[in-house]
């Protein structure tokens, strides 16, 4: 029997959304450095590939008012990662960063600095955005149309790579001339420990997949179920060949939640409890408002669903919410489906929302969860997972202590780090290519 495929695991700091349960008695600070330190150290103790921070550059709003129900407030990601480099030694340090509201010279220097300061552990989850709501916090506002976000993304990546490669015996001048990125000067960092920090990418559209196949070392995906995952995995890995790349050079990692119990039954009970904590009455109404696009504050969350249909004429109420934008696309049909489901099951608003939204991906005893994770990877649905605990900062403890040893016993997960850099952990060390030719300037 051949050796099992090796699983990659990463730790997502609990997010600024209702997945994170702040009402749990064990829930700690979301801003104190000690919380970040504790979670990163736990992930490092468990030999995870990297510690991960999401990005959100505007406070969420609902119906024109700041959102109050979920955890809110986060640090600057690269700043926290630089601090974490001081209290960790091996784990990769990864942040989501949009190419739309950052500048390539500054970001290349900051990621390069992080790579130097961490001896080669810096990583970047590239996202492209196009969102005037977030743009209002930035100099250029919502300057970038949706269909041009990957144009900026491509040029951003190419220019950043040009900068990382700029330092040589002869100097460190650079020049990049594109429609969305036009920069020239000198880059002040010597070659980075990783050459180029590992880069993953999170877009799921066709353009996003193609972008990942060309540039990325990994993909942060939503496709958590085996069947979807296998299809996605085959699709993306199949695109690599045309860029002269091998399948192992792109690691596919779905974001995933989990609930552990002593037994499967206990875990399922706990999972329901967590779902109830995640979806309070006000949460349920707010979630419904995202779909209905109406003020539903007069409805009782423990009562039946609204008889009225979603309002398709008004402006979207939940600004900055990707979930709301997705819901809006098929609002009336979805509302009808939900009403039918609630009537069939005699469910209240809150009960329905608990059922309809984000059940945890893995629920069970450590043995069950370890088997399920391993099964996904061995089936070719993904290369591992980015785990999203629901409690800060101790939400990964039990996974590290009880699930990781089982994966190690199965021979599917490392018992120690094999190299010093994040690229080593991801297994995506590859010889650096010469700087890519620059694109023709857009007319």
């Amino acid at each position: 029997m051949s050796a099992p495929r090796q699983i990659h695991l990463a730790a997502h700091f609990p997010g600024v959304n209702n997945t994170t349960v702040w009402s749990d008695p064990a829930a700690g600070s979301h801003i104190d450095f000690s919380s970040f330190e504790q979670l990163a150290r736990t992930a490092e103790r468990a030999k995870f590939d990297f510690f991960f921070l999401a990005e959100g550059l505007r406070m969420r709003e609902h119906a024109g008012r700041l959102h109050e129900l979920d955890v809110a407030g986060r640090p600057d990601s690269l700043a926290i990662l630089a601090s974490l480099a001081a209290v960790t030694a091996r784990i990769g340090l990864m942040a989501t960063i949009t190419t739309t509201y950052h500048e390539p010279y500054e970001l290349a220097r900051q990621l390069g600095t992080l790579d130097h300061l961490s001896d080669g552990r810096a990583g970047w989850n590239l996202v492209t955005s196009s969102d005037p709501f977030t743009g209002a916090n930035f100099r250029r506002g919502g300057y970038l149309p949706y269909d041009r976000r990957y144009e900026r993304g491509e040029q951003f990546v190419e220019s950043v790579q040009l900068l990382w490669d700029a330092w040589s015996e002869r100097g460190s001048r650079f020049e990049y001339d594109g429609s969305q990125v036009r920069i020239a000067g000198e880059f002040p960092l010597p070659p980075l420990p990783q050459g180029r920090p590992a880069m993953i990418q999170a877009g799921d559209s066709d353009a996003g997949r193609e972008f990942a196949a060309r540039h990325a070392d990994g993909i942060f995906t939503r496709h958590g179920r085996v069947q979807d995952g296998v299809r996605f995995y085959a699709d993306v890995k199949g695109r690599l060949e045309r860029y002269g790349r091998q399948p192992h050079e792109l690691v596919i990692l779905p974001g995933t939640t989990f609930i552990l119990g002593d037994t499967d039954a206990q875990a399922h009970e706990l999972a329901l409890e967590v779902r109830r904590a995640q979806v309070s009455g006000p949460h349920a109404i707010m979630f419904l408002e995202q779909l209905w696009n109406r003020d539903l504050s007069s409805y009782d969350p423990d009562g039946p669903l609204p008889e009225v249909d979603p309002d398709l004429t008004a402006q979207v109420r939940a600004e900055g919410s990707a979930q709301a934008r997705m819901l809006q696309r098929e609002a009336v049909e979805t509302a009808a489906r939900w009403r039918a489901r609630a009537e069939a099951g005699n469910l209240s608003i809150r009960e329905l929302v608990i059922e309809m939204t984000g059940r945890q991906s893995f629920i069970g005893s450590p043995q069950t969860v370890a088997e399920a994770i391993d099964a996904h990877v061995q089936a070719g649905a993904c290369d591992g997972f980015i785990l999203i605990p629901h409690v800060t900062p101790g939400g990964l403890d039990r996974f590290a202590d009880e699930v990781v040893p089982l994966l190690q016993e199965r021979g599917a997960f490392r018992t120690d780090y094999e190299g010093p850099t994040l690229r080593d952990h991801l297994g995506v060390t590859r010889p650096l290519q010469p700087p890519r030719p620059q694109p023709a300037r857009a007319s």
Partner: protein
């Protein structure tokens, strides 16, 4: 306390590459500033001495001061034609804000002020980055504001356009105002975790800042809760009339060149502070002084001659002190007072001069009654500088 402004002479050090002297790079000659080991050992030395704060340079001095010509671009010293290889003397310049974040968890008392430019940066990101540094360091963060006046800055952020050189200080004032408003956009008690109403934050204590300037606008609120100091220290280096007006309007800390003009400039700053409607004690003044030190006078002079012979200083007008730690302590005591609370020393070669500052100059100051014998512990950098916890501009009357 009779005259606290010099009884406790405030001491800062500028950390610029491997030293402020252009020959420092050749003396040290390495890529060391690209490593964390270099920075943790430098900060440990600064903490050993009990310095109030360090500033961390963004690039060589000619860049920091905005005096660079366009031949001298961002990030490192221009190539020296006298050197054998183009690479000689070229130093790495890490991002100083991230260096500050890297050393924050392994230091306990020293204030950390990275240089961050205004022209090429986003106020929103500068604000959250410094707020994060303040959270990580438990209230030791500050911002040494760099207002570059080089035409070429726009080339680093194209195709975004940057203001014409003549308007850079006007833009800087808008930038700083946005950053300060963002720091206040979360009231200190905005996070309520109220199980009764299921609310994590109280939106009444979060504020859009709605800054609308000529050069930029920012909506807010910040994504980062208010930093422990409320307002991290904002420092402006005074090099002319426009930087003086900017400091008077926006700075907590002003750096003024030591030398004959020191007290005249400090008086004009005090007048401008009053004209801006601020109290004089709201702006702390430190005198900027380059130092070449040695245990004996002859040794210091030899070092200075050797450094100058190897690479002349960029600006012969910059004041520099050459001598022993005891003489430096005496010199600073004589020059301080009259609105000058202390000094920011610029070690010519950090590896040589910083240990002498930390281990020799400070004991000399203590022996002369100009520093507390045991050092001073304070809950924040603001407190150490004698600045109070600032009122939040958005907070309603005390609850």
């Amino acid at each position: 306390m009779t005259d606290p402004s010099w009884r406790q002479l405030t001491l800062a050090v500028s950390l610029s590459g491997v030293g402020s002297h252009p020959a420092a790079g050749r003396a040290v000659g390495s890529l060391a500033p690209a490593t964390w080991r270099h920075w943790t050992s430098v900060i440990a030395e600064a903490e050993r001495g009990g310095l109030e704060l360090v500033t961390l340079a963004d690039g060589p001095p000619e860049r920091a001061s905005g005096r660079a010509t366009d031949g001298q671009l961002n990030g490192h010293r221009p190539p020296d034609p006298a050197a054998g290889s183009r690479d000689a003397g070229r130093l790495p310049w890490l991002d100083p804000a991230l260096v500050a974040c890297r050393v924050a968890p392994v230091s306990v008392a020293v204030g950390l002020l990275p240089e961050i430019p205004t022209v090429t940066t986003e106020p929103f990101l500068v604000s959250t980055q410094l707020a994060t540094l303040d959270h990580v360091s438990d209230g030791r963060a500050g911002w040494s504001v760099i207002v570059s006046e080089r035409e070429s800055d726009g080339k680093y952020v194209g195709p975004r356009s940057v203001p014409p050189v003549a308007d850079r200080f006007t833009e800087a004032a808008e930038h700083i105002e946005s950053v300060r408003r963002l720091w206040d956009s979360w009231e200190d008690d905005a996070e309520i975790r109220d199980a009764g109403t299921n609310r994590f934050v109280d939106r009444e204590r979060l504020h859009h800042i709605d800054f609308e300037g000529h050069w930029l606008s920012v909506k807010g609120p910040s994504i980062t809760p208010r930093p422990p100091q409320g307002q991290p220290i904002v420092a402006v280096t005074i090099e002319g009339e426009r930087s003086l007006r900017l400091a008077a309007a926006q700075a907590d800390l002003a750096f003024v060149a030591a030398g004959p003009a020191l007290h005249g400039t400090t008086r004009r700053l005090a007048e401008a502070v009053a004209a801006a409607g601020r109290a004089p004690e709201q702006v702390v003044v430190l005198a900027d002084l380059g130092v070449v030190l040695s245990d004996d006078d002859g040794g210091a002079a030899d070092r200075a001659a050797q450094l100058d012979g190897s690479a002349p200083r960029d600006d012969a007008g910059d004041p520099a002190f050459v001598g022993t730690p005891a003489a430096l302590a005496q010199h600073m005591i004589e020059q301080a007072g009259d609105g000058v609370q202390g000094f920011r020393l610029h070690p010519a070669v950090i590896g040589d001069d910083l240990p002498l500052i930390a281990r020799r100059v400070i004991p000399e100051l203590q022996a002369r009654g100009a520093r507390h014998p045991d050092g001073v512990r304070a809950p924040s950098l603001r407190a150490r500088l004698g600045l109070g916890h600032p009122t939040n501009r958005y907070a309603a009357s005390p609850r």
